[in-house]
Point group: C2
Chain length 351, copies 2
């Protein structure tokens, strides 16, 4: 398991270690014959020599690694797509992710970030696993950082977040397009950017269709426990049941997320309403495990996790290359949430 070193390459090629170093690092101005250069490269290849990245990092003052700090990687299926987006954008430039998880614990966050800084990361992507406002930890103030699925009260910190309002608009627009006018909303009670934005999109789509806003069609329920699958499904069930048992029930529901939509399916089944014949349902997030496990499969709007990860990394790498460049007015970048039409939306029933 010994690591192949420059000495091994030198011995195999029959040259000095200095020559090997000059050839492999493409040092200019050394008189080394083409034949010798080729012999060194061949020996290095045959031995499987991996250049010493640590030593190279010391020379260039760039480690070509980026820290990826996340709060709750294990509890959400969103994490994978964000990490993959960031990682593929990084790999395209020969950069690797150093990953740490803070589990939302401030002390663990500080020590995790210190472990990154000790390894001389060139910058940090700081990712939240659902869209929220965060305060950047002090230990990061001297390191180029981009927020992913999070934004900061400090406008100087660049961030990449989903365009919640556009997504809410896209969802409700899809219902309007099928002829729905009486559209209920199920939403959870915690005040998050997602809640505000999606409701804003709902109102905009209604206004554009000439439908006046009716607050009795907005059913908010508290998810207990917060941000868990079961909690959301149950809150979605209660909210939908309330709307569907009202005097004048809606013909369609826009649900705050796919888990709440799963609860709406249960409420509809209990009340003998078939989806989409009697009731159209649209969700938000595009969690495939939920959307494709339901029958009929759930139409929804996609949170662009892969794209957000890729954009955050691209912005960070640009920031590192040209430090001090003004961020401009687009400090907070909103990425669109596209409609994913499956089978839960149809025309309203004839009354």
């Amino acid at each position: 398991m010994r690591r192949i070193g420059i000495k091994d390459v030198a011995a195999a090629a029959g040259v000095s270690t200095a020559t090997v170093s000059h050839v492999l690092n493409r040092v200019e101005g050394k008189r080394i014959s083409e034949e010798t250069r080729q012999r060194v490269w061949k020996a290095a290849d045959e031995l499987g020599y991996a250049p010493n990245g640590l030593a190279r990092g010391l020379r260039t003052q760039r480690s070509q690694t980026i820290g990826f700090v996340s709060d709750e990687i294990a509890t959400t299926p969103h994490a994978g797509r964000m990490i993959l987006g960031a990682q593929e954008a990084a790999a395209a430039e020969g950069v690797v992710l150093l990953l740490v998880n803070t589990s939302g614990d401030a002390e663990l966050e500080r020590t995790s970030i210190e472990m990154l800084l000790q390894r001389q990361v060139d910058g940090v992507v700081y990712a939240a696993m659902y869209h929220r406002i965060v305060e950047l930890p002090g230990v990061l103030h001297a390191t180029p950082t981009v927020l992913l699925d999070a934004s900061s009260a400090d406008p100087a910190v660049p961030s990449v977040v989903p365009d919640e309002a556009q997504g809410g608009y896209a969802a409700v627009r899809e219902l309007v397009r099928h002829g729905h006018r009486r559209i209920g909303v199920t939403v959870q009670t915690v005040d998050l950017p997602a809640r505000q934005g999606r409701l804003e999109g709902y109102r905009k789509a209604l206004a554009q269709a000439g439908v006046s806003y009716d607050p009795s069609l907005v059913a908010a329920e508290t998810a207990v426990p917060f941000n868990t699958v079961g909690g959301d499904v149950d809150a979605g069930y209660r909210a939908a049941r309330r709307l569907l048992t009202a005097d004048q029930r809606p013909t369609a529901l826009f649900c705050f997320n796919d888990r709440m939509a799963a609860g709406a399916y249960r409420a509809a089944a209990e009340l003998g309403l078939s989806i989409p014949g009697d009731l159209s349902v649209i969700g938000f997030d595009n969690q495939e495990l939920v959307c494709e496990s339901l029958h009929p499969q759930l139409s929804t709007v996609q949170l662009p996790h892969y794209e957000m990860g890729a954009r955050a990394m691209a912005r960070l790498l640009a920031l590192i290359k040209t430090p001090g460049r003004p961020l401009g007015p687009d400090t907070k970048e909103l990425l669109p949430c596209p409609l994913v039409a499956r089978a839960s939306v149809a025309s309203p029933p004839r009354l």
Copy 2:
């Protein structure tokens, strides 16, 4: 955004950079007064100086980083728990994960692993996102490596995998315990360790209950596309529908995974069978997004992803500390899959 260096600490403490280096690196045999040592530490703390991990790595020949190579991080919600398990086990020893993703592409895998080796990782966890047999890439042969949720035909490569047979046994035992004797199985057709093991557990639990094996109760369907949510749900629907419309239908179903169980829910609903009153259903995997989105919530058996990640990392770190230590007979370590009882299993209906 300039990085605080040893020179800054030296200037603040009013000593030479050599003295700072000796103090911070705890070099023995240098005559430095206790008062000077304390002044240096204080200056380093106040400036937020992060020791140069690259330089330290060159001295110790340990980078305190572990490569985590995974094949399909974004397409499975299992990834997060495996990564978290590995990461927390690493962080406990001051070790950080360098993460690369291969997307199942051999060329990308080779270059990804080379990026890790260039950064002098002390070892590699090579993770598959579902339990399968892999061939270790040649480029890893000289690096300590542990397989996670995968095993190798080469018995010299240590691996950590779920105990599929025990998990299948636990699931069917739960059905038997509730009084079921006529238990159907829905399974997919691809020959994976999970399929073999879970069926073995099924037969063992039946045998133990004195129920003879009836191949007509095993319904295999091909998931198209393979290993996707929709593909599995649909295959599970077809398999369950076949069993439930047979002359003598089973009173309970053991489904190969939670997605196939979601398909069984659909088949039961179509046939007017209520769960668990008319039909008990148990899944496998414990994908919470599926289990808790279904009504009633799905009982299942958990794939121990967090635990597997943690064990793989612990074994790798032990291997790195004592290279050459014989692996012993437990090269392949099986972790138990515990029962997660929710609401989809009850006593069989009285006929």
